[in-house]
Amino acid sequence: MEPKTLFQKVWDDHVVVQEPDRPAVLYIDLHLIHEVTSPQAFTGLRERGLEVRRPEKTIATMDHSTPTLPKSLWVIDDQAKAQLRQLERNCEEFGIELFPLGDSRNGIVHVIGPERGFTQPGKTIVCGDSHTSTHGAFGALAFGIGTSEVEHVLATQCLLQRKPRTLEVRVDGQAMPGVTAKDIILALCAEIGTGGATGYVIEYTGSAIRGLDMEGRMTVCNMSIEAGARAGMIAPDETTFDYLKERERVPQGADWDGAVERWRQLRTDEGATFDKTVVIDASKLEPMITYGTNPGMGMQISEPMPTTDSFDDPSQQAAFEKAMGYMGLEPGTQLLGKKIDVVFIGSCTNSRIGDLRMAAGVLSGRKVADGVRTLVVPGSHDIKKQAEAEGLDLIFKEAGAEWREPGCSMCIAMNGDNLEPGQYAVSTSNRNFEGRQGKGGRTFLASPLTAAAAAVTGKVTDPRSLLLS
């Protein structure tokens, strides 16, 4: 049999029809929806008089515009309220399971999918959200779609898809202490740029990827989209199976053994080829940070920022200068030591228990610097409970950080958690676009360790200086 890549195996398994000169009709196993990108899709269904074909294959949550203060302090503006209510109504009318605001299983869509065991190896998974790539950490083919496509999936459980190309990102070597999964993926974005993987599905391979736990793998796959990729995938292994075993929605008992048997086949065969390969040596990496206004504008934290001359292309030079203007930074200088105003620890990139433990490790016995606002926002209620059982919430609160309810929060700044114009934030989220965390706000993307270190010193700080002391 012809050797195949992991991607090819999952793709082939889901092609319902492939006509010449037409995109494939691809079957979707799991469809995740949230309040922001689904309302117009349901309106479309109603206008056409269509039903949801397989309601049991769609799961809904509320996360983007939900408040993260305790219930008694909830502020939800009328528009957001209407949107949340609309999702409730849509789910009720079409028979879709919903984890609403206040439900003990609620959380960020890309956090609860894996956590409840909906996300499984070999599945095709889509959501009207670009960070759906997160689920690829389990060996699923998972990608973001637009609202028209949300409607397509609701109506037919299928999507029209052209086959993407494949890119292997091999990360070899052992990362040094203080260098996390987030630093690996920020290094990839810095290396290939935000359009570097456009048109590709990435498969992450190599010893440094194998060595990551599932949370680290999710962090890496999550930001595949920041390099332009359709999806990111990692072949499932014992780490994957250990994580999934006995989760609420995975096969149980004898079915579990059968499933694991099948999942073991989901890896790239010896001799299969990728359209392109990029190699990263993890042992050479330092903690990473972004300085500009897209996730590709990143560097090792101790480096000086580039200068206009660092770029050959005039349009890249212009983009760099525009970014420096927005960020209020001096090209060629150090970012280390730059005073910051806010630290955000959260988002579907870095809000899982391991991320919170990392941040708590730095904050334990220390205080948040004067004048710095630090928000810690767990990705789901399960994570929140777990963190509280471990006493992490106390560490955060004693340090002077805010311990919040789950949600997207300041990653997208739709729920009232946002930066003020001109403020600087070190953020564990995934996007540093102009205004992403609030109009006029300026974002440095980094790992939970680097974010927590900045909270303590009030400045951009190499976390290793605090880990060693």
Partner: protein, 195 residues
């Protein structure tokens, strides 16, 4: 969906690279449950001043931009989130085509479903078009989908790629859901085989 055959229009030059969907339409405008009416929020943070008045320095507000149906944008246009609100806002303002050297995947796919044509040209052609449009804002560009060609001033002519299926759908005004629904039997068979 409205048919797209040929389009001749003056254009708006926006040379910035990597314009992301948060720039095209910031997240605070995503709390809507309708897809109409987003044109006023297009490029909001660049387009309006603090007091809500028009920023005279932003190209979209220039008198010469009014009525334009073509945007000549910088490389890697539409990166970032999957929000279809981005093409909804562009179409809402009046754009029917965007010319760039590259588009983000999801943005491209979303645009094609809304009758907004992403026209990908070589860096040389892009440079020539951008310069012509910046020099004379009344410069007309013609886009012919059937022949997959862009024609500008001075005999400048170039072709652009588009997949057969999207082209067919745009030319005929076919929406893709109708096509998908026609495979109902095959989908049922696929589902039966798997269970």
């Amino acid at each position: 969906m409205a048919k797209f055959t040929t389009l001749t229009s003056h254009a708006v030059p926006l040379p910035a690279e990597n314009v992301d969907t948060d720039q095209i339409i910031p997240a605070r405008f995503l709390k809507v449950t309708d897809k109409h009416g987003l044109g006023d929020s297009l490029f909001c943070d660049w387009r309006y001043l603090k007091d809500g008045s028009n920023n005279p320095d932003f190209v979209l507000n220039e008198p010469a931009s009014q009525g334009a149906q073509i945007l000549v944008a910088g490389n890697n246009f539409g990166s970032g989130s999957s929000r279809e609100h981005a093409p909804w806002a562009l179409v809402g303002w009046g754009f029917r085509a965007i010319i760039s050297t590259g588009f983000a995947d999801i943005f491209k796919s979303n645009s094609l479903k809304n009758g907004l044509l992403p026209v990908e040209v070589s860096p040389e052609v892009h440079k020539a078009l951008m310069e012509a449009v910046q020099l004379d804002r009344s410069t007309k560009i013609t886009i012919d989908l059937q022949t997959q060609s862009v024609t500008g001033l001075d005999g400048l002519e170039a072709t652009f790629p588009i997949d057969e299926f999207s082209k067919h759908c745009l030319l005929e005004g076919i929406d893709q859901l109708g096509y998908l629904l026609s495979f109902d039997d095959q989908i049922t068979r696929y589902e039966q085989q798997r269970t």
